[in-house]
Symmetry: C2
Subunit: 249 residues, 2 copies
DNA sequence: CTCGAAGAGTGGTCCGACCACCTGTGGGAT
DNA sequence: ATCCCACAGGTGGTCGGACCACTCTTCGAG
């Protein structure tokens, strides 16, 4: 560690960082998109041509394309070509679920706290902005949860219930982000032990409380209800962690 | 867009999805980590061996490894081997900056709204939890911003100021997420035109207002101050978008 | 005992070949 | 003239091998 300008406070330092050819290609392609030289939906040159243009082998170019593909920036269609995605929230945040899938222990608790923050705000926004039709969708999922006892379907409608609310909040990016946080694996893991504690009935009441706040168009009540809802799961999870109970997964 | 079976409520539909060999390898490796068969910091078999184990060529295996590398799940060290990262927030959320970098227009506004939600909550949490030392760091960056006029350094300390607060909120994941949202490129783009409207002095006052709320340990005041701070940038951005002004970048 | 050089092993890059798939085209049937 | 389909070319997907750059360990010289 060598400090140069020991100013007031430490500022970010950028290492020289070995530049691998593939990494540079990734940066170049990203830059092309950022600069508008490649637009959403546009088709890229063929892997062979593009590799020649940027001065690297097809193998390395393929790795770069694969990397940008998993990031949701590019999309490869076998036999057709490689295209830039629409670069919408749904495309770029698809990978966000990985974070939830691979996080564990204390980090899972932190993610749940973040979800509580965003879910409560989203629900509050929804209370102010929701349209009758959107409210109908919310109610449909609520009703569907009441009519079945299949855990799979309950969970699916639970997710859809919250997503419908997030969409009604009018921020698609927020909705996608929340969906990632409540991804199948994430919720399934927590739910596995959660449901066995009779928390099922309570969950239903919490959902109805959220619904009432939406109907009343009361943002603060909605915020409180949503925060309490997520907070319950959060509390249970922290309890498990304190007890040293190993999480399934 | 074609709507099919607008039944009660649409539930997620999973396409058959062509399974490319590389994609399957990615899933397999992710599963191994999720199941604990591969632990943080652990070294993977060599590319050649691992490829043989999973029954594919080294080329395809390399693409899978590259993909998981950009996601922050794996780390390849030239000449040494491939390792699982610590799977901490900093590792997995590194890619989040890409979203901010490649978003534009209305999507940028949505991201800013998300930042406002999280920043205000983080600041509120910080007001309740911040330690004297952490407060000292915050003040140092505040002072540093006052003492220089170099936009580069001001911006750097601005970022560090907010990051210090987020860290004080006690949620590292939240801090990393916010850092991604306020990434260099993202803020630089918005700032470019923003500072020229005399908003610079106002920004300083807003920062001081946040600081006072932290000193007073007043979460609600802190929340309001942070929300107003981000809200100002948000308002300006929406104005630009309404005017159809093309964003730089 | 210390230290540096050499070797083995690893990821990084490149090449060429072949396969699977899509798409546009052209000729045939209607 | 119109429609349909087989076909051929082009594209991404996969494979195997070769060589380079780097790291780490080991062992011999000092």
């Amino acid at each position: 560690m060598k400090e140069e300008t020991p100013d007031q406070e430490a500022l970010p330092k950028e290492a020289p960082h070995k530049e691998t050819v593939t990494q540079r290609a990734i940066e170049q392609i990203k830059a092309m998109i950022a600069q508008g030289r490649l637009e959403p939906g546009q088709r890229l040159p063929t892997e062979r041509d593009f590799a020649a243009q940027l001065g690297l082998s097809r193998s390395s170019m393929r790795e770069a394309i694969r990397a940008l593909t998993v990031l949701g920036v590019l999309e490869a269609r076998h036999g057709s070509g490689v295209y830039v995605t629409q670069l919408e929230a749904g495309d770029l945040l698809e990978t966000f679920g990985v974070v939830a899938d691979l996080s564990r222990g204390p980090q899972l608790a932190e993610l749940l706290e973040i979800r509580r923050i965003m879910e409560s705000s989203a629900t509050a926004l929804a209370a102010a902005r929701i349209t009758p039709e959107q409210l109908g969708v919310v109610e449909a999922h609520l009703e569907a949860m009441r009519l079945t006892e299949d855990p799979e379907r309950i969970l699916a409608h639970d997710l859809a219930f919250h997503r419908a609310i997030a969409v009604a909040a009018g921020n698609e990016t927020l909705a996608v982000l929340l969906e990632g946080l409540s991804s199948r694996t994430f919720r399934a893991r927590v739910w596995r032990g959660y449901r066995e504690e009779g928390a099922f009935e309570r969950t239903r009441r919490e959902h109805e409380r959220i619904h009432r706040a939406l109907v009343a168009r009361d943002p603060e009540a909605a915020r409180a209800a949503a925060a309490a809802h997520v907070g319950e799961v959060e509390r249970w999870l922290r309890l498990q962690l304190d007890q040293g109970t190993p999480l399934p997964g």
